[in-house]
Symmetry: C2
DNA sequence: TACAAAACGGACCAGCGGTCCGTATCGTTG
DNA sequence: CAACGATACGGACCGCTGGTCCGTTTTGTA
């Protein structure tokens, strides 16, 4: 019996903090302006509890992010087409990119917070590595695709970066559909290294 | 006489601060760990002086960045081929991207600091807008190029983002030449032709 | 019911970016 | 050269932050 099961109040408080943080982040313009003390107060919990449960600020944000991301990952790993593994690479890649883009659109504040929290590079987070590895391996399987798949995967993912999405969708008021279409077009151009079919 | 010319000690101190900041940033792993007080001390100046000269932290970093960037801009606006405006778009675009990449490689810490300083999105900085506008207009002039030039310009620039460059060149130890070649290949694919021949 | 083990919470801390204002320097004018 | 506004200096000072500590309370088991 190496692990003890966590106590009831601990899990309740953890959930309360998660919920409070989620709400506060969603309500504020920038994540930076929500302090840990505020989150603790909103959750009806002491600061010590908050830090014991999540370690530090990034720990909290990461936990929230992972929770939101989990269903998407599930769809990618076990789900049906076009996200699931039964899809051929040439159509799965755009589907994945679209899913990532939609996720960022739906979780703007959170993604922004995670990708630009102080010092830590988003490229060292393990969820990035998962996306990158998957995408890279798919690109390798596409016959016509020239160039280095590793780098191409990085760039395609960079097209969905939270602050770029925020700039286009938020500051420049691009509608969701337009962004998705542009990303799809761009991905198509990259995938078939020759000139792509005329845009619709 | 709307402007007064600045006092001599003011300009001397400004230069001292700039030099000290430059050195400290270059010496530290992450810009975040260099405090304003340290910079002031290293420059042999009071904190007040520092803040009066640059406004705030981002002001200082931006001033440093602009100073480094100026020669590159000069080469792009008035210089000879392949960066200058006499170059045809199809070969000028890769040259510009390469110049940006090299600049980021040569100024890793600084670029990293500017692109991820706290809250401010790098997409609202005016130097970004200059690059983006130039690149977008060039893309529009390329006949075979399909898709939205505005978005494509964003993505191509995203391929040179400081933290991606840092991840690849620093953490993954990619040699400089490899990165440049990969970016060139990728850009060529986007521009609408197959893989290019040159690989110097 | 007794009693460890685990979790709580908020006073507390060091350090940050940024401000303020009494003092020192500049450079201009007679 | 003297004198005197204007300008810049510098570091004590402020509010606030993320993060820690430890006496107190809750939990669950024997």
């Amino acid at each position: 019996m190496p692990d003890r099961s966590p106590r009831k109040d601990a899990v309740r408080n953890r959930a309360a903090v998660l919920a409070a943080a989620d709400e506060l982040f969603a309500a504020s313009d920038s994540t930076e302006e929500v302090s840990m003390a505020e989150i603790a107060a909103a959750a009806g919990v002491g600061k010590g509890t908050l830090f014991r449960a999540f370690g530090d600020r990034v720990g909290l944000i990461r936990a929230l992010y992972q929770a939101r991301l989990e269903p998407v990952w599930h769809a990618v790993e076990d789900g049906p087409a076009p996200l699931g593994s039964s899809t051929p690479p040439l159509s799965r890649v755009p589907a994945l990119l679209d899913a990532v883009l939609c996720f960022k659109l739906d979780n703007r504040r959170l993604a922004l917070a995670l990708e630009s929290t102080g010092n830590a590079s988003p490229y060292e987070a393990e969820h990035y590595e998962r996306w990158h590895t998957l995408l890279r391996d798919l690109l390798r399987q596409i016959p016509g695709h020239a160039g280095d798949s590793d780098f191409a995967a990085h760039v395609l993912l960079a097209a969905t970066r939270a602050d770029l999405v925020e700039h286009l969708a938020g500051h420049e008021q691009f509608p969701r559909a337009k962004l998705r279409a542009q990303l799809a077009t761009f991905a198509a151009a990259v995938l078939g290294s020759g000139p792509p079919a005329p845009a619709a």
